[in-house]
């Protein structure tokens, strides 16, 4: 396990190499460094994992590297910390990350910023690894901000287009709001507990604070704020759909598989704080459920294939938050992992489709592609099946676990019902995606040349297998870390049957609505009310509209108004007054004898009046 430090170091080296060579390397070499460094990191993770498994799932390994800061008790160390939870994350990041990098070597071929792209991607992998391997909340925050930066850089990768820059800035600033809340949470934890070391914080928290104390609730909620921002949950979710401006592999890696799930990881990592605070747990449920619904409905009406997937990601992370809230910690992490598989698969397949159609993203201009693009079709099919949680796909196991766990929670039947309803919508939009893109009437999109190459096909195949079979991994290592002791499939009986049947129902309904009766569906939704609803959902429930009026526009308008800096006014006024006085005095000095004399006489008269008046 001593090789742990190699895992984050390799991507960092890749980044540095690509940086200093300034894009002068040939593309082959760039691809080898870019994808290779992540692959090597995955290889380096293998012996670590073997060691870990030998020592049992409860193993904890900390590798101190150096003292970062040490001032008067504020002493965060740069220490890598490996336990079951971070190990699972490491595999998601390096494994899925490597596949996506590999795919990207083909997808991005010929781009002038090829080297820059892989530099950013490697930096991202490094930051993400730091995030999950951090032993200290401040180090975690380093990774946390680092992935945010890379997300910004990669969303705005095609920076010639101002809209991309806007989307990138939006992503960064909106998540920064959450990050700032999280930072405040860290300040609070440090003030109360005197440390930011995660394990010390957790153990100190449980001994210091009674259940439901205000302080722990506030701390948990502030940290939740960070998680909500990074994971695109209500109310900080607006950046994610726009983030699709980035290249598709970026969407797959950052905005589906890894970064956006960091919030889930964070909450799972500091679960003791949430266990101490029922209110924070309820907040998790509330945020999760609300986002789940909101995003699922929004996904149902999008036309842009990537936006569908973006809203779907949002909604699936909502599931994870929901799971965390109901205490199904392991199920949440399990879903995080399976989601990484199938959502990466969906994005990469979508990328192949988009590339084949020369950057067409409107699903209604696709249609009938299943014959022309068999591999992306297969990938998308598998991915959508897992997303809809059709039985025996990976998504089925994780989602089932969440739903059944929710039923076991207090007030659970309602929660279960709500989540199941959302699962129905999920299945519905998954079906819509498949039927419209691959079976709909052939669209107007361009010719049939399949733009993919082997570098892109390989990852699709591997990810398809993972998305299908990933559910059989079970999830022993994280379970040892989390309080619920693993994914339970308890609570059999009718609930289990219904839960399993809901996706099938959704898909069936989708088949009818979007394939069999699609004309009738079209007629049905052409009414004014339905159209209004469609537009409302398509705009993501109007949050962008609302925030623009509530925050963005007043902020910008006021800033514009104050561009000259109102604080300067008194100083400028003082200067102006002095200038006027100076002008007056200077004008009196005009060289006219009679003017002087008159002034003298007037002054004398004035003096006389004063003197006589006083006398």
């Amino acid at each position: 396990m001593e090789a742990l430090w190699l895992i984050p170091l390799l991507p960092l080296l890749g980044f540095v190499t690509l940086l200093v060579t300034e894009g002068r390397l040939p593309a082959v070499l760039v691809a080898m460094i870019g994808a290779g460094s992540v692959g090597l990191a995955a290889l380096a993770a293998a012996p670590v994992t073997l060691d870990f498994l030998q020592q049992g799932p409860g193993t904890v390994f900390a590798q101190p590297l150096w003292v970062w800061i040490d001032v008067a008790g504020f002493s965060p160390d740069i220490t890598l910390y490996l336990d079951g939870l971070s190990l699972a994350m490491v595999w998601v990041i390096t494994g899925v990350g490597f596949l996506i990098h590999l795919y990207a070597t083909g997808y991005m071929a010929g781009d002038p910023g090829y080297s820059r792209f892989f530099a950013y991607m490697n930096l991202f992998v490094f930051a993400m690894l730091m995030l999950v391997l951090a032993d200290d909340l401040l180090v975690l925050y380093l990774g946390w901000e680092g992935v945010g930066l890379c997300s910004y850089l990669l969303i705005g990768f095609f920076h010639d287009e101002p809209a991309n820059g806007y989307a990138a800035r939006k992503a960064f600033v909106v998540t920064r709001v959450g990050d700032t809340a999280m930072a405040l949470g860290l300040f609070l934890l440090f003030r109360e507990l005197g440390t930011l070391d995660i394990q010390s914080v957790l153990s100190a928290a449980t001994t210091t604070w009674p259940d439901g104390s205000t302080t722990v609730t506030v701390a948990a909620l502030l940290i939740l704020g960070g998680a909500v921002g990074k994971s695109a949950q209500l109310p900080l979710q607006t950046w994610l759909p726009d983030a699709m401006a980035g290249p598709t592999p970026v969407s797959a890696l950052i905005h589906a598989a890894t970064m956006v799930t960091a919030g889930v990881y964070l909450v799972a990592r500091v679960h003791d704080l949430f266990l101490l605070s029922p209110l924070a747990q309820s907040a998790l449920i509330g945020v999760g459920l609300a986002t789940l619904f909101m995003a699922a409905c929004a996904a149902l009406v999008q036309r842009d294939i990537k936006r569908i997937l973006a809203y779907s990601t949002m909604s699936q992370i909502g599931y994870m938050f929901f799971a965390l809230g109901v205490g199904a910690w392991s199920a949440a992490v399990f879903h995080l992992m399976t989601h990484a598989f199938f959502k990466a698969l969906l994005f990469l397949s979508a990328g192949s489709v988009i590339l084949a159609l020369h950057h067409e993203q409107d699903i209604f201009r696709m249609g009938g592609l299943w014959r022309r693009l068999p591999l992306p079709f297969a990938g998308m099919l598998v991915g959508a099946a897992a997303l809809a949680a059709l039985p025996f796909t990976s998504g089925f196991y994780s989602k089932d676990a969440i739903l059944l766990a929710s039923a076991a929670a207090p007030g659970g039947l309602w929660l279960w019902a709500a989540a199941s309803l959302a699962a129905l919508v999920t299945a519905l939009y998954s079906a819509r995606l498949i039927f419209v893109v691959f079976f709909g009437p052939p669209g107007s999109a361009a010719g049939p040349d399949d733009g993919s190459n082997n570098a892109m096909r390989g990852p699709l195949v591997v990810l398809s297998l993972l998305a299908l079979g990933g559910g059989w991994f079970g999830l022993a290592p994280p379970a040892a870390v989390l309080p619920d002791g693993g994914v339970s499939h308890g609570h059999g009986g009718w609930l289990a049957w219904v839960t399993g049947a809901v996706p099938l129902l959704g898909v069936g309904l989708g088949y009818l609505l979007f394939y069999r009766w699609r004309e009738r569906t079209a007629a049905l939704v052409s009414g004014a009310a339905a159209q209004t609803l469609r537009r409302f959902w398509q705009a993501g429930w109007g949050f962008d509209w609302l925030y623009a009026r509530l925050f963005e526009q007043p902020f910008t308008a006021l800033a514009r108004l104050n561009r000259r800096d109102v604080v300067d006014v008194p100083f400028v006024l003082t200067a102006a007054l002095l200038r006027i006085g100076h002008q007056l005095a200077a004008d009196g000095q005009n060289g006219r004898l009679r003017w002087y004399l008159a002034n003298m006489a007037a002054g004398l008269a004035l003096l006389l009046i004063i003197v006589l008046g006083a006398a």
Binding site: L19, E22, G23, W66, V67, W68, I69, D70, V71, A72, G73, F74, I78, L138, Y141, L142, W144, E145, G146, L149, Y152, L153, G156, H159, D160, E161, P162, G165, Y166, A168, R169, F172, V173, R176, V177, D179, T180, A183, L184, L186, F187, L188, F190, R191, A559, R560, N562, R563, D565, V567, D568, F571
Partner: protein, 491 residues
């Protein structure tokens, strides 16, 4: 030794001036050489190690004994750190003026080095009178730098700079004399020696502290005394901006740490929250006004106000973590802002404008400059792993222990910082190349080896500060401890 250091800088300035007769390129070379010598001096002092009292060097000469004035120069860890920063950024400033200055090279370098000499004096003087003298010494050459080699509105800007500094300097002088007289009436000893005044300042009227505060707050600058800075920065030549932002603002912060709180602990405690409020307001307001600027340099200038607000907040939180954070922030801000001003200067040299509305899409035309700007912009918005983050975070951690509301307010500045910093990046280097009026999409002369070398040094310094600031903290830590920044030590 310290006197020599100052003499080297001042004398070297004269030498650089005279060397102009040998050719226009000579003053720069001489100045660089002088700074190299100064750097060697500093390094020797550093290596020489500190004595038992934590001093690396001490000069104690009588000057005007009748009034108790001595030439007391002392170098402790904090001073050493700032002197090293001064010398390093001085060299950066000289290099950045390599191609920009087109007239009176000798006089330019003279003023530059004189400013540095004054700054080094300020950072080392332990006699209030000597401190004041150095305080004024650094002002005049800076005024000349702006007034002679500045841009379009240099007259207005330099005069504004001069008046703000001069008036606040006057208040400082009055306060110094009042303090000394107060001490004399209390103890019968007339002295300007900081070391003696330090212990015996109980019962000093609070208004005396306000005089010090006014001077340092103006220099820092803190809202609402900041308005000279955007004008001065915008109009100053690149080297002037580098020195102004990188070093001179730090004299204000240094004054707060060295003089205001230790000399006036009671008054500082009394005014703690109002001043911390000013700090937090500076953070947010500076960032917010920066967001609206169209002028590259003006934007960076306002961002400086925001960054120095953290320093103000940290100093008056006055616990070890916060003040150490303030020190890190001072140094890190010196590096990041110097680099951004150099970038603004480089762009102006190439595009003949600082107007962001006329830039855009420059990345494709000068990728190195783009990457460098990106790095420093990101540093400026407080990315972990780079120096500014360490400073800001420590300040906030420390301040949070003192006052929650003000910390929350200042933390909002982090969000606004992201907004202005990324907008700067967008408007200059990203976006469509068609938007730039200057020369369409023709390649721009990108950074060469000289400029890249400077930028890499600054970038490396920021990374070092970001991932391993401990050596720096160890250097300044004992000093701050000695000044009484133990946790909650502000009585």
């Amino acid at each position: 030794m310290l006197l020599w250091l100052i003499a080297v800088l001042a004398g070297g300035g004269v030498l650089a001036w005279l060397s102009e007769r040998m050719g226009a390129a000579w003053p720069q070379r001489v100045a660089l050489l002088v700074l190299a010598v100064a750097a060697v001096c500093t390094a020797m002092l550093w290596i020489g190690g500190a004595d038992a009292a934590g001093l690396y060097a001490l000069t104690d000469l009588p000057w005007i004994p009748r009034f108790g004035i001595g030439l007391v120069l002392a170098l402790d860890g904090l001073s050493l750190l700032l002197v090293a920063l001064t010398v390093l950024l001085g060299a950066v400033a000289v290099i950045s003026s390599w191609t920009e200055i087109s007239q009176r090279h000798g006089l330019f370098q003279l003023n530059l080095l004189m400013t540095l000499a004054g700054v080094v004096g300020v950072f080392t003087a332990l006699d209030l009178f000597a401190f004041f003298v150095f305080w004024e010494v650094m002002l005049v050459p800076m005024y000349l730098l702006i007034a002679i080699w500045g841009h379009e509105e240099r007259g207005y800007a330099s005069m504004k700079f001069f008046l703000f500094t001069q008036i606040s300097g006057l208040l400082l002088l009055v306060a110094i004399i009042a303090l000394v007289l107060h001490h004399q009436s209390a103890s019968g000893v007339l002295t300007f020696d900081y070391r003696i005044l330090l212990g015996a300042a109980a019962g000093v009227p609070a208004w005396i502290m306000l005089g010090f505060l006014a001077a340092f707050l103006t220099k820092l600058p803190g809202v609402p005394l900041h308005t000279w800075l955007p004008d001065a920065h915008t109009q100053a030549p690149t080297a002037g901006s580098v020195i102004l932002a990188g070093i001179m603002l730090k004299t204000g912060a240094y004054g707060l740490i060295r003089f205001v709180v230790p000399l006036f602990p009671e008054a500082s405690l009394e005014l703690r929250y109002p001043i911390m409020l000013l700090g937090a307001v500076s953070v947010v307001y500076g960032a917010y006004v920066a967001f609206a600027q169209d002028d590259f340099k003006r934007l960076v200038a306002y961002s400086s106000i925001s960054h120095m607000g953290f320093v103000l907040l940290g100093v008056f939180a006055w616990n070890q973590v916060a003040v150490q954070g303030a020190v890190v922030q001072m140094v890190a801000h010196g590096f990041s802002t110097a680099a951004l001003f150099m970038m603004a200067g480089a762009l102006q040299e190439r595009l003949h404008t600082r107007d962001l509305a006329r830039m855009g899409g420059l990345w494709g035309r000068a990728p190195r400059m783009g990457a460098v700007t990106l790095f420093f912009v990101v540093a400026s918005l407080g990315m972990p792993g780079l120096g500014n983050f360490v400073g800001e975070f420590m300040v906030l951690v420390g301040a949070f222990q003192v006052n929650v509301e003000l910390t929350v307010l200042a933390a909002l500045g982090l969000v606004v910082a992201a907004a202005y910093a990324l907008l700067l990046m967008q408007r200059s280097f990203q976006g469509s190349p068609g938007g730039s009026a200057q020369g369409g999409s023709a390649p721009l002369q990108d950074f060469g080896a000289r400029e890249m070398a400077v930028m890499l040094v600054l970038a490396a310094a920021l990374v070092w500060l970001g991932v391993y600031p401990q050596p720096l903290l160890d250097l300044s830590g004992p000093v701050l401890e000695g000044l009484g920044t133990g946790r909650g030590a502000l009585p």
